[in-house]
Symmetry: none
Subunit: 412 residues, 2 copies
């Protein structure tokens, strides 16, 4: 079973609204084992709607239209669908009295334009609208299924969940399910991950494996087709183990997990605490750590020491170290980490100093040079990084590398 989605409405093509209907339908259809092959957005133009519908009916078993079911003259979805199916639009008395009832409930009289909304293609299955006015419908024609849904997200979702899914499940006893598993990696570029998994990705047909790069994170998505959920999950788990063996600690989590959640979990389980001394990241590491609910259990606080005075007074970085090595140096990162660990009385101290740019670079110290130090007990581990990008990107990459350093330490 495959499907196409046609979103109708000139407003979408002006780009002022984010279309959330289509992603929602894509997700739900995928979960039902129905593959969405194409998604089209067109304006309120009869010829365009008709040609898109015809093309889609030629290509796939199910076509879902979104929008164009309102009472105004530019709402022509029903007319076009009826024409394609060679059916008349006929008045549905039950729907009409329901629409009239809705106006009565708000003590308003129904404008005559709304009568139009009670006309549906002959032999179609009406879909009542629990939230708004416009009804949808399902029409089976030419060995195809056409589902017409209203545009507003809060009307479309309940209609699809409560009316369309039961109809589809009843009508086509679903045989195949699609399960997906996402493995999250950090520290490798998309092409590096692809290189490492080249043979596996090529060979594996079920689950299929694809990559998706976000800022600092590359997701490995496994998509298995199976007769039931359990078998699908097993297929993904088997492949997941194989990939995890290959990539090791580059994989930090699954699904939508964030690095700071993984760290938080480790710290919480081991009853350890952390404090942070930030310079170039300017508070971003603390912000990320405190995005996690319950982070107050293990995150004690941080000092964002932008000025050298703050580094000295609040963290105890030595004046001589600052003068001899400069604020962006291994030594200062180390003293920051040890300093914040001491002042916060935490188990871990994370120190970070660098040049986020665009100014502040010197001959020896380019933009993107970052030192990260992690103090634990009486040891301190320091690493040097060189990141590329604009100020915001360097901040984000540096914060991510620092959090990843903590995670890797906690894995030891």
């Amino acid at each position: 079973m495959n499907a196409e989605i046609i979103s109708i409405g000139s407003e979408h093509l002006l780009g002022e609204i984010l279309n959330t209907d289509a992603p929602y339908l894509c997700q739900r259809l995928t979960a039902l084992g129905i593959e969405v092959e194409r998604e089209i957005t067109i304006g309120d133009d009869e010829k365009d709607i008709a040609s898109s519908l015809e093309e889609a009916l030629r290509r796939v078993k199910m076509v879902i239209t979104i929008g164009g079911l309102g009472p105004t003259p530019d709402d022509i979805t029903k007319k076009v669908i009826a024409k394609a199916a060679e059916e008349q639009l006929v008045l549905n008395e039950e729907i009409l009295s329901e629409i009239e009832g809705k106006f009565k409930e708000e003590r308003k009289s129904m404008p005559s334009d709304n009568i139009k909304q009670a006309f549906l293609p002959k032999d179609s299955h009406p879909l009542k609208n629990r939230i708004g006015i416009a009804p949808g419908f399902i029409l089976e024609t030419r060995n195809r299924i056409i589902v017409a849904l209203p545009g507003p997200y809060n009307e479309l979702v309940p209609m699809f969940e409560e009316k369309v899914i039961p109809y589809l499940e009843e009508r086509f006893k679903v045989r195949e399910v699609i399960k997906s598993l996402i493995l999250r990696t950090t520290g490798l570029s998309e092409s590096k991950v692809a290189e490492k998994l080249k043979d596996i990705m090529k060979k594996s047909k079920n689950p299929q494996i694809s990559l998706l790069a976000h800022e600092n994170i590359v997701d490995i998505r496994l998509t298995a087709k199976a007769g039931n959920e359990k078998i699908g999950e097993k297929l993904n788990e088997g492949m997941g183990k194989k990939i995890t063996k290959r990539l090791g600690n580059y994989i930090f989590g699954t699904g939508k997990q964030a690095l700071e959640e993984v760290i938080g979990y480790f710290l919480y389980m081991r009853k350890k605490t952390i404090a942070v001394a930030e310079s170039c990241t300017g508070g971003l590491i603390s912000h990320r750590l405190t995005n996690v609910s319950g982070s107050s259990d293990y995150f004690l606080g941080s000092v964002v020491a932008y000025s050298n005075r703050m580094k000295r007074d609040r963290l105890g970085v030595k004046k001589t170290t600052l003068e001899k090595y400069g604020a962006v140096s291994e030594k200062v990162a180390g003293e920051m980490a040890k300093g914040v660990k001491r002042v916060a009385r935490s188990d871990f101290g994370l120190g970070i100093t660098g040049i986020a740019g665009p100014t502040g670079a010197t001959k020896d110290k380019p933009i993107g040079l970052v030192y990260i130090a992690l103090a634990h007990k009486d040891k301190v581990e320091i690493r040097e990084f060189k990141f590329r990008g604009e100020r915001g990107v360097i901040k984000a990459k540096a914060a991510n590398a620092a959090l990843d350093m903590v995670r890797r330490h906690l894995l030891k």
Copy 2:
């Protein structure tokens, strides 16, 4: 001039990503007087991409493809476009050395797969990627223009703004110009802004006025059509003055200006410095302040005091105050603001304490209760807020309110 947009990538059809590229392009193309007639999303399937491209080239003058320019085998956009144009893919030496340079800059070796990204259709106009790796290109063929852009939003936008728009303007002298001016407000909901501007918005046809709500910010967008840029700008300026008179200090800037940039400008001009003591915002205020280039001139640093010990030891909040009033209180916010001002030796001290949730609420102190204090000279101004939403939303709203308090103080 008309256009179609083709988004390429199977991940979109699984519905797990919101496509923000297409709405952005729709907006920008509309502003340039280019009508977007259709927007299509398809998977990484060669036949589907080829047929969509062929159909689009038959219908419109310009086709923009998004995505599929990466180094992995499922990135096939270039191959399909080259085939449609009956051109070869040829190695662009300049692009290759640029890609190599990017890897060198991060002290990494370039995986061999990335060489593929330096191949572009013969006679195409290359579009360098300032942020990421994948270059785009413009190809004129069969009396049509094909523009191929990378998928990541932060790569696509600068490429389109800096490379594609100048190319189009140069190539097709535009007759009517569309100028827009955005006035940014904070502190009012979208419906409140609409209420205050109802009559103005209804009456004004040129410029047209529309609202767009972001997190904490409502933009008022003026769009003027005119024979040349100057007239368009004048129309917008006239209306802008009228609206500013009505909304006063709720308007904090124009265009894409952020609140922290406005504050930074004021502080820099007056040679004043600021330091921050954060509790419930967890570093977010500092992160926002340091997103601005040159913020080290006026931002001295901050203390994120999650634990009470940090509040006492690092900020000098009195033990008795904490015990008597609790960590989330007017008094503690005030002592935090004064404390950080003292320890950082800054002109302004900003203190913030509250309950971000989902835990930590008591009978008297609900989730979303936040106190913000601003210390300046020997005065301290304290305000109480109650925000609604999830943890992340409350952090964001609280940080915004704190920054806005600083801005309003600086306006006095």
